[in-house]
Point group: C2
Chain length 231, copies 2
């Protein structure tokens, strides 16, 4: 397993979603062409992306839906349980906590945190919202794999630091801010930040999405005219 483009991982997630859909429709076989069309990429791309991780098809036949699905689940690490805390239980945090499909694949919310006294103490999905100050103690007692950050932008860096100090290995950042992998000192700036080694950050930023959309509506020529697919 050498050097895999990050875009390939995004596409793998898409292929998996398509396979799940095919499975609910009792479709048992597919092909790189079929997947390509549904994912809006080229069939070359599908085969190359899969080839990074193994040989999952049968030449002349294509792919068996349940097998390829199982293999992608394994590759993406979704056959394992993931313990998740959400920091920031405003409207967005609540929407995330309740979003259907998030509880598939053994993503389990084990702790919910906020600083707003009106929210702390509320019960959401059988969990009592705790004060963010208790994050460190909580994570010491309960292993947590990832934290979702749904706090206002000005709180995001500190909340991220708290998560990383607590030993969380990955952050899904919904705040429109670039998280600095540096030790945040109170009032001050930064330092190399050793606790950030091996911490992964993924951003989900819908404000950025709407601004990109504005740009591409005004400059339609620049958008990789998402029309062509297959071979």
């Amino acid at each position: 397993m050498a050097d895999i483009p990050t875009a390939a991982i995004s596409r793998l997630v898409t292929y998996l979603r398509i396979l799940e859909q095919l499975e609910t429709q009792d479709v048992s076989r597919t092909s790189s062409n079929d997947l390509a069309e549904r994912a809006q990429v080229s069939a070359f791309q599908v085969r190359k992306d899969l080839a990074y991780f193994g040989r999952f098809g049968t030449r002349g036949m294509g792919y068996t839906v349940p097998i390829l699905k199982r293999e992608l689940v394994r590759v993406l690490g979704l056959n394992r349980t993931w313990s998740v805390v959400i920091v920031g239980m405003g409207r967005l945090g609540q929407a995330i906590a309740n979003y259907p499909g998030a509880s598939d694949y053994r993503f389990q919310y084990v702790g919910l945190f906020d600083v707003n006294p009106q929210i702390v103490g509320q019960n959401i999905r059988d969990l009592r919202v705790q004060h963010t100050e208790q994050l460190g103690d909580f994570v010491s007692a309960t292993p947590v794999d990832m934290g979702f950050l749904a706090v206002p932008p000005d709180r995001a860096q500190d909340a991220a630091q708290a998560l990383v100090d607590a030993g969380v290995r990955g952050i899904l950042n919904f705040a429109p801010v670039v998280i600095q992998p540096r030790t945040t000192e109170r009032g001050g700036v930064s330092e190399p930040g050793d606790e950030w080694r091996n911490v992964t950050i993924e951003n989900v930023d819908f404000l950025a999405g709407m601004k990109r959309l504005a740009f591409y509506i005004l400059n339609p020529t620049l958008k990789a005219a998402l029309t062509e697919d297959t071979e």
Copy 2:
């Protein structure tokens, strides 16, 4: 203006956000190095990204925050008013409608739609939620630039088709589905789809984000170790 990487547009949005933050802190000058550090990219990258659109700095001096900000606002098309409808006013749609910062830059929500009779008729942000069936009539009467899609996955394609039929030029898709730029026939499959010419789709998919995060936590070596920056 020739051939600009889509990643460059994402970074431009980030630079703009940083400039706004600097402005609130009354910082009047910055440099490619400073921006690079804050955006977690290389200073080369900052200069190259900006160079796609013009010469905004002064050699030896750097950039003037308000000027560069103004120019990026212009480049991204954010000095113009954008009329937005949201289709799907469940928890996620409501969180989006109420998210602070979305109303900056003249993004204006002009219509909210849902199919759930418990939601239709509610008032959200001074707008009465309408039934999705009324989308076509509404857009005929009120010009709409973009639609946000926050419906369940199985409704996304139809809702996207309705938006495009109504003449909407861009879709911000929150559903975990690949929108097919093809005419969706009732019960049937597809056709080339001419109304999709010049329609831009941006995806904001947090379920995909959490799956990518799972992968990168298990394979930390593959993530472009987001530690190094500048030159």
